[in-house]
Symmetry: C2
């Protein structure tokens, strides 16, 4: 990588999704994907036995703001051509999390040894996809500017339970000045397949969030400013936690931050 | 009903969805629903055994423009509270079509005698929901003005097959002058859960339609005018035909034109 002052971005941002997946397939990279393949849809992964797959599909459908499915694999089929011609979900994610009875038992860089004829892969969208559109529209995203992860909270809003799948809705929050909050609602409404419009704005206590400065997962406090209001989007962590907490005998997710990179452009998800 | 010149609309348009469903539940009305409960979402119905339900859910997801699911019932549960608190899918549709091995065997006004613990109800949106928005935006819909059904065609575009479910994409077509065609694209883009934006415009031969004046199901010829172009939307008949042609041992649909009336307002489906 260059040391010139204008090129501090990682070279991996310009890898094509195909190139990135090839790298991950070797097992030589097991980290975050946010610095890869700028402009392409990154997404969450859940793999579970067919026995539970209809319930999970229904759960995602009923809670579509939190779990906007962008692909459902065929039973037993590890290929997801709708996301990438060559995409093999057993190898093309940098790192996986394997659960047995709700407990993490392994964090491998591929799951070839675990694949079974009854497994079904679910892939759902993530707010990475609308963040570029927000920035292009002039919305300042402080977490990105600071290099931090977006903050998340567990609300007191119940997701609509189906079978073993249940739990509270998890949200991401971006602090925005009022004019940018309005603009952010407009922009993200155009992206229904990656969470779409916010589900709440202002007044965090109404959705059970007592302290904005204490986000989930030991996230860095957002340091709200007096001229900002919090804007909340449903988050794809909701179905991931629902899957984990269902304590199925067996399931697999991506390791947080280490996502599926698809051949679809983020811009292709905008509906207007 | 009044004979005054300003009230030629059927009184049933002002029935609430609850009132309409109560009427259908009695079995006294087995006809079309288009003249009922103006402003509320009407939708298509497919009921099938759990054994095929994951495949059908996946088929609908992969072909979401043609099959925008708005509800998936719980296995064995005939109630769909997400569409109406009291909605009993066994009784609340005016008329059903029952298939065995792909053949129609019965067209009953309720399916209580056929309900089973392994049945799953799927409900998907219909273009009725965006037609009001089009008219409100000033788009002239000639079929509605003439009291005709919208014309449909089978294209040469393959839907993405899943399991037993396959077939060509069926489209509806509305003839529009160019400025209204543009406006119609804008307006329907806001309704992704009821087919959304058109999938094709102009040049019918590119999607395998040889003669616009010979629509499916013996529809009335649209009588295209020289200043009009055809605008094509994916149609919910696609999954209904896929379901029928899968020749499952057993499945049920609504009888064409006799749809599920939900408590949701059409306007609630607009995303922006």
């Amino acid at each position: 990588m260059s040391t010139a002052p204008f090129t501090t971005e990682p070279a991996t941002l310009s890898l094509t999704p195909h190139e990135a997946r090839r790298l991950f397939r070797t097992g030589q990279y097991a980290g975050y994907t946010s610095s890869f393949s700028r402009g392409y849809v990154q997404a969450s992964l859940g793999i579970l036995p067919q026995k539970y797959a209809l319930d999970f599909a229904t759960y995602c459908h009923r809670n579509a703001k939190a779990c906007p499915l962008i692909a459902i694999g065929n039973v037993g089929d590890p290929y997801l051509p709708m996301l990438g011609d060559d995409l093999d979900i057993r190898t093309d994610v940098p790192c996986y999390r394997v659960f047995r009875d709700g407990e993490v038992v392994e964090e491998p860089t591929d799951i070839k040894h675990l694949w079974r004829d009854d497994l079904v892969a679910f892939v759902w969208g993530c707010s990475f996809s609308f963040e570029q559109a927000l920035m292009d529209a002039g919305v300042t995203l402080r977490d990105i500017a600071r290099g931090d992860n977006v903050v998340m909270y567990e609300t007191n809003i119940d997701s609509l339970a189906v079978g073993a799948f249940a739990g509270k809705i998890v949200v991401t929050m971006r602090p925005l000045v009022p004019a940018q909050a309005i603009l952010a609602i407009q922009v993200t409404s155009r992206f229904p397949s990656v969470h779409g419009a916010p589900i709440h704005i202002g007044l965090p206590e109404l959705i059970g969030i007592g302290d904005l400065e204490a986000p989930l997962f030991n996230g860095k406090p957002p340091q709200m400013r007096p001229d900002e209001i919090p804007v909340f989007w449903a988050c794809g962590v909701t179905p991931r936690l629902a899957l984990q907490r269902a304590r199925l005998p067996f399931c697999i997710t991506h390791k947080p931050g280490s996502m599926v990179i698809s051949d679809r452009l983020n811009t292709s998800l905008a509906i207007l």
